[in-house]
Symmetry: C3
Subunit: 269 residues, 3 copies
């Protein structure tokens, strides 16, 4: 489904997206979800995650500030989402930075069936079992194109690596997404927000296919381009508010996207 | 007390408002409190909530991201606030969305005496025992006017339901507050911030009467109107900063509010 | 090392700064770190703090929303940072407000060797054992100049008290930092962000000397001055984004700082 159509469906249905995310960028994640046209809910208590996810059209799990009670909540919510057949998106923040994160990502990936995984190049390379440098939660490189295909093949999910060019693969084909702006890399949480937007698109489209994920990233990247164009943007701090404005503006008038999303198939499998 | 007078008292006394709130909108809640003229403090450890609330002039409890240790802290802080006779405001975020939230709201309401309860129409309808649709933490309707009166009657507290028109009742009379702007519904946390402003007003006025709560909501709604007027506001993302600016500007010059708050008694009990 | 040189080193090396901080201002702290040129990471699980801090060039501990599991994580991370010899900065938020905070600050200070401590005047006075009024987490005064020297002497660390004038001491000499703008005191978290900037400078300089801490505060104060000058700033809400823009702009062109940092030795010990 094209981004324009997904956004129209989202505006009409206002799907609930349940986020289990980190406390650093949670506000941006919630606002990005709302601006895109979905309804965000954050709920992490083991006592309610299953009941909450039962109302949701997608679940987004972000490992940014992981600890054991949250992992339990993620597993519970994830299994219930799987039972109900709703798409689940994982952002494996910082995987590779500590053995705890690497083990917990492996645990999540083995006990829950994710529809899509979205991270930076280093995180996806780690998941693919390739060499990568992850310092803290920032990627310092890695071959994103190979990594997404290998990770997607081994996980049986759509995998995206965000960066100057985003790469997305279903294990066979690889799409490149050229939309975006360097300022997106200068704010904390643009990766988390990308994952949130993917979850919104997955909720509306009811799938996290190669096309859906690529369109979501192209849409968000286009919003970043629009935001950066404004004369009021003087750096990362003022950019963030304009980025949300642009997400809301494009979601309200999806026809503005026509011809402006730059996704292409770079490998046909 | 009129909003102007409450704000002057707040600026002179700088009352401490203790918040036990969610991690999604906590930054907005804290900044709204500070911009209004009060001092925010967030402290949730069971080891210190009683001592912290002893210094406070109001306590605000927000259920947005509830879990068992937080409920314990809320109960401890609430009981101590009751012992000291300071006003307590509850924002029952998401009540009705899961049985856990509904039970926990009932527990809080039975063990702590709240001065005011502020939520969206669906949440207040749930508390009043009326039919409502709550999806996640968003209300999708409900008869707010009836709900506030019924909930206020059964709780013996002032009850407010925020929305395009806010309704406030003490169980007999009902006030309507017409100030506000649609952009307030497009940012995550404007409801939480409303509750924070009510707590600030309650701290300064030392009550959470029908009048105090209505004036607080009218003040915050007026700030939203002022913020939305600015040519620099291009959507929800840029609106949030301007909303805080407007709160600070009106708090610094309360005379700007004269004749601009639109509260009216729509039912006299 | 002069601020200009520290910023150039930071841009070249992109040191990782590990924050154990509060959930109120964590987003501002992370963005301030990134805008200054360092890489922020927030990780609090006892299972990973030691491994994460092993990759870091500085550790920043902020007591804003303390609870027992976090104290354990702070102690573990702090001891490991000490073993590795990397600088650790403490922001003792709210010390003096409750006995829990006062005891936990004492515990941290006795079990971990901090390179620098940065708080408001009331917090530093409390640590120095002087009279102070702390209401919630806001300082309402105290003799900052005496407090920093006494606290530094007893702790054997660099101690800073932020305020209209910042005072910094190594226990003998006292520096005054005159950069800054009143709007910095109107946003929640400018103190936390100051501490984050000190940690960034300490990471790049590999020390938290009197000079390094003073230069960090002067740099951040100068960013506040630049931000406040902009015609788009209408109050605290819009100021915050511009403050981050200014941090990023000055970090990208450190020569803009030349001759504009106002630090002076006000007592030579």
């Amino acid at each position: 489904m094209k981004a324009e159509d997904t956004l129209r469906k989202m505006a009409a249905e206002r799907p609930l997206v349940h986020h289990l995310t980190n406390y650093v960028t949670v506000n941006l994640v919630a606002n990005a979800t709302l601006c895109a046209g979905a309804l965000p809910v954050m709920a992490h208590a083991a006592e309610e995650v299953e009941e909450m996810v039962a109302h949701a059209s997608a679940l987004a799990i972000n490992m940014g500030t992981l600890d054991p009670p949250w992992i339990e909540a993620m597993l519970k919510a994830g299994r219930e989402a799987n039972r109900r057949g709703i798409p689940i998106v994982l952002d494996p923040v910082g995987v590779g930075a500590t053995s705890f994160r690497t083990e917990m990502a492996a645990k999540l990936l083995s006990e829950v069936e994710f529809s899509a995984v979205c991270g930076n190049a280093g995180e996806i390379a780690t998941i693919a079992g390739l060499e990568a440098e992850v310092r803290g939660v920032e990627s310092l490189g890695g071959d994103a194109r190979t990594a997404v295909r290998e990770a997607a093949k081994s996980l049986g999910a759509t995998v995206a690596a965000t960066g100057p060019t985003d790469f997305v693969s279903d294990g066979e084909r690889i799409f490149a997404v050229e939309n975006g702006h360097p300022l997106m890399g200068k704010i904390v949480g643009s990766g988390c927000a990308s994952t949130a937007i993917i979850a919104c698109f997955a909720a509306a489209a009811n799938d996290a296919s190669l096309e859906t994920v690529s369109e979501a990233l192209a849409f968000f990247g286009r919003a970043g381009e629009d935001a950066a164009e404004g004369p009021e943007v003087g750096g990362p701090g003022t950019f963030e508010g304009h980025l949300l404005d642009a997400v809301a503006a494009l979601a309200a008038e999806p026809r503005l996207l026509e011809g402006r999303l730059r996704t292409s198939e770079v490998e046909s499998g």
